[in-house]
């Protein structure tokens, strides 16, 4: 009982801080995307496909959050040349807004238009913490199965968009696109859904266009 009270206090403070972070980024004309998924669903790969296309119009920064290793930051730097920082979470299973804020400070937001946060690979905890991002982009990889929205409700409830990844192996894994859509919509009827394959390139243009449009809407509006 006490634990849940404490947790509510933490979440309430987190939500307040998230509003402040969004306002701060809004003042600077920056669009902030929180990328979440299970481990190995393809977050870094999708970023490495999106960033070169988006770089034509946006100055991009990337925050790579992991419990350990700097592999993903190295990959993004090597493959995209974007400004990148690796955050280690000291064992933590998610990014709180305070961690997100400190990461933004460490990255340095001056001169950037679009920042991606690659959250910890975890389909549960990161969904509970508003990072101050303007968009929650959730990946669901084909090998995980089309039933994941049934088992991990909150992640799909907080998603602005869901990108199904590794579409090229859908037949091997007996993944039903129809069931995936049905299960995502059960949790969140308004989330945009994209079917992508980094290998074949399927759906990457559409996903890029969606992010571009949302970013332009915010940056222009501000």
């Amino acid at each position: 009982m006490e634990i849940y009270t404490i947790k509510e206090d933490i979440l309430s403070r987190n939500n307040e801080q998230a509003k402040e972070v969004r306002a701060m980024l809004s003042d600077k004309g920056i669009f902030y995307v929180n990328l979440m998924s299970s481990p190995g669903a393809g977050k870094t790969t999708v970023l490495s496909k999106l960033i070169p296309r988006l770089s034509e119009d946006f100055r991009i920064g990337v925050i790579e959050a992991d419990i350990d290793s700097d592999k993903d930051a190295m990959t993004i730097e090597r493959e995209t040349g974007a400004k990148v920082i690796q955050i280690h979470t000291s064992g933590a299973c998610h990014m709180t807004c305070q961690m997100s804020y400190e990461a933004l400070e460490a990255l340095g937001t001056d001169g950037l238009d679009l920042i991606f946060l690659e959250n910890i690979g975890n389909l549960v905890c990161p969904a509970e913490f508003d990072t101050g991002a303007d968009m929650n982009l959730v990946l669901l990889s084909v090998p995980e199965g089309d039933d994941k929205p049934l088992k991990y409700p909150l992640m799909f409830e907080v998603a602005n968009a869901v990108a199904v990844t590794k579409l090229d192996v859908a037949e091997i894994f007996d993944f039903s696109l129809e069931n995936a859509v049905k299960n995502i919509k059960k949790r969140n009827d308004s989330a945009k859904i994209y079917f992508t394959s980094a290998l074949s390139g399927d759906g990457i243009d559409e996903l890029e266009q969606y992010i571009r449009n949302e970013a332009v809407k915010k940056i222009r509006k501000d």
Copy 2:
């Protein structure tokens, strides 16, 4: 600062209770296996392959833990006929020992020799909580990538055994068995490692034999 103190208290109480649960199961001659992995790594599928083989010698119970859905319990019941219970964790990202204890009570341990707990699909949080199990069996699926032990250290540190799953797609996903072994051993030099495919049947006999031997050792010793 306060948060971490609370967490330490919780973990310390959890560890005390885990000793009690292990002692209780030991008195009853029951071997208890905690199965952990990312979402969609194949926990239910591996169980549905292991249980029919192990059923020849053990009376088996299964605890299926999910945030929502009863799909896995239905699958285990249909495919193995084992005694099974579905636990919903009210959003929680892991099983504490208290939850594990309550699940064992709800399942009913009388007359059982071997109990599997299929933990929440999460490569972070479940590793922090000793469930009272005799064995932590961790799955690492090929599509997730061979680098996961680098990014999710604790899960591989607490593993007694790691079963690489979906071995049949290793070539499609450019998964290096050598790197996987190296990365697992970096975290835990004593963990047993099995390479399995539920599709081809590779490695299932070896994994079954390992669980059988460990269970017999405990049950006989008691």
